[in-house]
């Protein structure tokens, strides 16, 4: 099986889906001739032509809105937001339109669009090229939010998103793009949206997280294993709507739960995860729920000192995990 980086897996998934279904097309800023500022669409313009890989004007609400219209017609648009931070001008189209179309039309119309965006920090991107924006959308029934943690998941989940008949927000960690590599089958597989995935089996503590933090948690778990601490790691994969069952099971399994997000703490995804646990398996817990997240400041600063202070990393994970294990 070939070894692929996260971004190669994304490109491959796009290409496979475009070959499979000629209704699939890509639109966004610089996705065409340039192949995307991160090269996610590298080569696709040459292979599929200008209208399958469309360089749009610089206007996110139109990228989303035109995509939504095309999707209602029956196309399969994959819209790229150049950075997750720049999805915000498109919020009205995403929340008022994409999320509500099936419901408001009593199942008459639907919006099979996928909106991809690179999110996350640790790349000297400062306030507006580092944000985690998933929480903004994680209260909107009708939407699905997928955040793969590694190359294998990225390919299988992106293909699932494109085939899904409802709108999917698909957030890719920009630091993972070239950092993470693993075996990725070059055949056709899809992974289920809406299901969390156990990334490591363990018995002492449970870590529930998603995105790049899964990687950090895995690294930390390796170290702790040397000290005899056994970590169970659940990767949410789909952060909205959450896979309650898997969360409850994972939390109950060890009775000690650490939730991790790269986002700032208050109002983040892991608040809802904590609530699900507190509602459903409170009496299985042997320790208070613990959360590790960015500080509650508007976004990650540029200076390396402050960026490091903000960003979750393996050391911070390890520290929190040990503390929980020792509770």
């Amino acid at each position: 099986m070939p070894i692929m980086s996260y971004i190669q897996a994304i490109t491959l998934a796009l290409r496979e889906e475009m070959l499979r279904d000629d209704k699939v097309f890509i639109l966004g800023e610089d996705v065409g001739k340039k192949g995307g500022v991160f090269r996610a669409t590298d080569g696709l313009y040459d292979e599929f032509g200008e209208y399958r890989v469309l360089d749009t004007p610089l206007a996110e609400s139109a990228i989303a809105g035109v995509g939504i219209g095309a999707a209602m017609y029956g196309m399969r648009p994959v819209a790229e937001m150049q950075f997750a931070d720049f999805i915000l001008p498109a919020v009205n189209q995403i929340i008022s339109e994409a999320a509500k179309t099936r419901y408001r039309s009593n199942n008459d119309w639907s919006v099979p669009i996928t909106i991809r965006a690179p999110y996350g920090g640790g790349v000297h991107g400062a306030l507006y090229h580092s944000q985690s924006v998933e929480a903004i959308f994680a209260n909107q029934p009708g939407l699905k939010i997928v955040m793969p943690s590694g190359p294998y998941d990225a390919k299988g989940l992106l293909k699932a998103a494109i085939r899904d008949n409802d709108p999917v927000l698909f957030f890719e960690h920009k630091r993972a793009y070239r950092l993470l590599k693993e075996e990725v089958p070059d055949d056709d597989y899809v992974l289920p949206i809406g299901k969390a995935d156990i990334k490591r089996e363990g018995t002492d503590i449970t870590v529930i997280t998603y995105g790049l933090c899964v990687h950090f948690a895995l690294q930390a778990a390796e170290k702790l294993a040397e000290e005899g601490i056994s970590t169970h790691i659940l990767d949410l994969r789909t952060v909205y709507p959450l896979d309650k069952e898997s969360i409850i099971k994972a939390a109950s399994k060890t009775g000690k739960v650490l939730l991790i997000t790269e986002d700032n703490l208050e109002g983040s995804i892991i608040g809802e995860v904590a609530a699900i646990i507190a509602e459903n398996c409170l009496f299985d817990l042997d320790a208070p729920i613990m959360r590790l997240a960015g500080p509650d400041v508007p976004a990650m600063p540029y200076a390396p000192t402050m960026e490091k202070y903000f960003m979750v990393n393996p050391d911070k994970c390890e520290k929190a995990m040990r503390e929980l294990a020792e509770f």
Binding site: F25, Y51, T56, P57, A59, S61, A62, A64, G65, V66, G67, I68, G69, A70, A71, M72, Y73, G74, M75, P77, P89, N92, Q93, S96, E97, K100, T101, R102, Y103, R104, S105, N106, N107, D108, W109, S110, P141, G142, K144, D164, N165, D166
Partner: protein, 328 residues
């Protein structure tokens, strides 16, 4: 000498149909106000004063192929595109059988896939990029349809108007945008909404044709939309049409209309397209007294029957609230 409509290639029967559609929209609208004022439906929002633009435009489109993205006043458009009065009344009463939304949306938020009426929401102007998306699909799929989208003049100040039309302009997409300029956005008059000398001049920002027409003249609107459609199908891109008329009613049944002078409204009603167009048809001896009677009777019975049906029809079950969030 040929009269106006034959010069446009419209038969006597066709202009009669246009008139009948305008009248039907007006009568349905009037009924909804009655139902609202008698407490039978909680809300209504009106097409009155804009029927000529709506119906004139619809008759210039291809009702078998084109997609329309109407806004909340476009009763005249959706009736022309195949929605029935019964459908409308089921919508007004919020009954389960309402094809627009199953009783989920407020009246005026049209949508019916089988008639290619694109589902709409309340936040204004979001439908503009959608229509552009349909037009993009037409170009990509090499299909010979256009999309037709409407909005109010106040709504043409939203960012989505600019972003959507520029997108259409860059790719010369077959989308026709008709702004129904009724002089007010709720209480705010045109000159406090829009800095340009009119709405259609905004087309220069998008490299497309722009034209302002008399929205009280269904034939003028017909002609503008017909020409726009021909250009669109020929690959020459979109058109921005401004149809100027006046809003006869309050903004909606929730509005007390306390911000404009009664005289202004009376003055505007002298240009009521229903009256003017009927006069034209009478002068042309197309609309006879007899025909008029028959038409009125027919419309009345359609509206009555639809109202009765809708009033009797059941609501959705409470648990239906949970349906259709995602595909099953």
């Amino acid at each position: 000498m040929a009269n106006r409509h034959t010069k446009l290639g419209l038969s006597d029967q066709e202009v009669l149909d246009i008139y009948k559609s305008m009248l039907l929209a007006r009568k349905v609208d009037e009924r909804m106000w009655l139902l609202n004022r008698s407490g039978k439906i909680p809300f209504t929002i009106s097409c009155q004063g804009q029927e000529a633009a709506q119906v004139g435009a619809s008759f210039a489109l291809n009702k078998e192929k084109d997609y329309v993205a109407p806004y909340y006043r476009d009763l005249g458009i959706v009736l022309s595109f195949g929605m029935t009065v019964r459908d409308i009344m089921l919508f007004a009463f919020a009954k389960a059988e309402d094809p627009n939304s199953g009783g989920r949306q407020m009246p005026g938020h049209f949508g019916q896939k089988k008639n290619r009426i694109i589902t709409g929401s309340s936040p204004v102007t979001t439908q503009v990029p959608h229509a552009v998306g349909f037009a993009l699909a037409a170009k990509m799929e090499k299909k010979d349809f256009v999309s037709f989208v409407t909005l109010g003049e106040g709504s043409s100040n939203q960012g989505d108007f600019h972003e959507g039309l520029n997108f259409a302009g860059v790719h010369k997409l077959p989308v026709i945008t008709m702004v129904e300029n009724n002089q007010y956005a709720i209480s705010v008059p045109l000159h406090k909404q829009i800095a340009s000398k009119n709405v259609s001049v905004r087309s220069v920002s998008y490299g497309m044709e722009g034209i302002t027409v008399d929205g009280n003249d269904p034939l003028a609107v017909y002609e503008a939309v017909r020409d726009a459609r021909a250009r669109a199908i020929a690959g020459e891109g979109g058109t921005l049409i401004e149809a100027v008329s006046y809003r006869f009613t309050a903004h909606s049944s929730d509005d007390d209309d306390n911000y404009r002078e009664k005289e202004e409204i009376e003055q505007a009603k002298k240009q009521d397209a229903i009256v003017l167009f009927a006069n034209y048809l009478r002068e042309e001896k197309i609309l006879t007294v007899e025909l008029e009677k028959k038409m009125t009777a027919e419309i009345n019975s359609i509206v009555n029957e639809a109202t009765d049906y809708a009033e009797e029809a059941p609501y959705s079950m409470p648990e239906d609230t949970l349906k259709y969030v995602y595909e099953d």
